[in-house]
Amino acid sequence: MKYLRQFGIILAVTCIGELFKYFIELPIPSSIYGLVLMLTLLKTGLIKVERVKDTGVFLIDIMPLMFIPAGVGLLLSWKQLKNMLLPVCVITIITTILVMIVSGKVTDYMIKRRKPNE
């Protein structure tokens, strides 16, 4: 029963996130509202972390699997994609690597600057 109850709480928060999405006309998905809401509920103590943790950890653990259908769906957009394949590939690869390096390096630098003697 523990897991079902936890799953119920998680779905309820997700559901409220969907309501936010419905009423607020911004390109923000319900998952982001739900994430912020869940964090607020945990922080204020309205939901104790033990009440969602086991099922939550399981869902996060199997998260990579949830991207498989979307990844396989690339087969469908292939026709559109192949018209601009070269620029798309080059831009995607360069940008992804660059963003990773810059944001990581900036964060590292700022942390180091704050504690110069470490």
Partner: protein, 230 residues
């Protein structure tokens, strides 16, 4: 075969899990970053449905239950974030500076590369939201007049690429702290990357989750500014 698959409510999930298991096996056997379980499972399912002439829709008829879990799973990313809240407070400025730098780098590099490739405005705004989570990215692309299908494809490719390369990039470019690794992965490869950050450690996972939210929201504003540049 197509009818058989269409009448099953589980086969798509089973094939996906099988592909993922094969990926995990290959990864543990050969320890090569390219042997990424997510990448292998996507390739495995693609090959499987192409060989047996199964429509994507038939596969997705049952595989959609995997995608269904994505929204509640994303909501659950609040849990590791909550557990690292103290660490976040101590490094607030560093984390946010890192994410903002990532957002600007993403928008800026797409802008410059689009000029080099002489892409049209439509193609340019299609690529602008490539580093952020799919649902926000789709919204931005639509609003700016991009080709939404391609935006989704590019976002997924970006995520998988980030997932595959994260560990090597952090090592190669000496991104040292767990916080910085998390920020780097979440800012560049959204939720798909975050799945990898979670494997790397709790702090990485938590910071990566935060980066999805913040970079997603900042890109919403940033992309509308950058869209006017070209």
């Amino acid at each position: 075969m197509n009818n058989l698959i269409l009448n099953s409510s589980t086969v798509g999930v089973v094939i996906s899990i099988l592909g993922y298991e094969i990926g995990l096996f290959l990864k543990s056997k050969y320890k090569n970053a390219l042997l990424n379980p997510l990448l292998i499972s996507i390739a495995f399912v693609m090959i499987f449905i192409l060989i047996f002439h199964i429509d994507y829709d038939s596969y997705n008829e049952s595989a959609k239950y995997l995608s269904y879990l994505l929204t509640p799973a994303t909501v659950c990313l609040a849990i590791p974030l909550y557990q690292q809240l103290e660490l976040l407070k101590q490094n607030f400025l560093a984390v946010f500076a890192g994410i903002i730098a990532g957002v600007l780098t993403s928008l800026g590099s797409v802008f410059i590369l689009s000029m080099i490739f002489q892409l049209s405005h439509e193609e340019y705004v299609t690529l602008l939201p490539k580093s952020i989570t799919t649902a926000i990215g789709m919204g931005i692309s639509e609003e700016l007049g991009g080709i939404v299908n391609i935006t989704v494809a590019v976002i997924i490719i970006t995520g998988v690429l980030g997932n595959v390369m994260a560990e090597s990039i952090c090592k190669l470019f000496k991104i040292k702290t767990a916080i910085a690794k998390g920020v780097a992965i979440g800012s560049s490869a959204h939720a798909v990357g975050t799945a990898k950050a979670m494997e790397m450690g709790e702090i990485e996972g938590a910071m990566s989750s935060l980066a999805i939210v913040v970079s997603g929201l900042c890109t919403t504003i940033g992309a509308s500014v950058f869209a006017n540049l070209r």
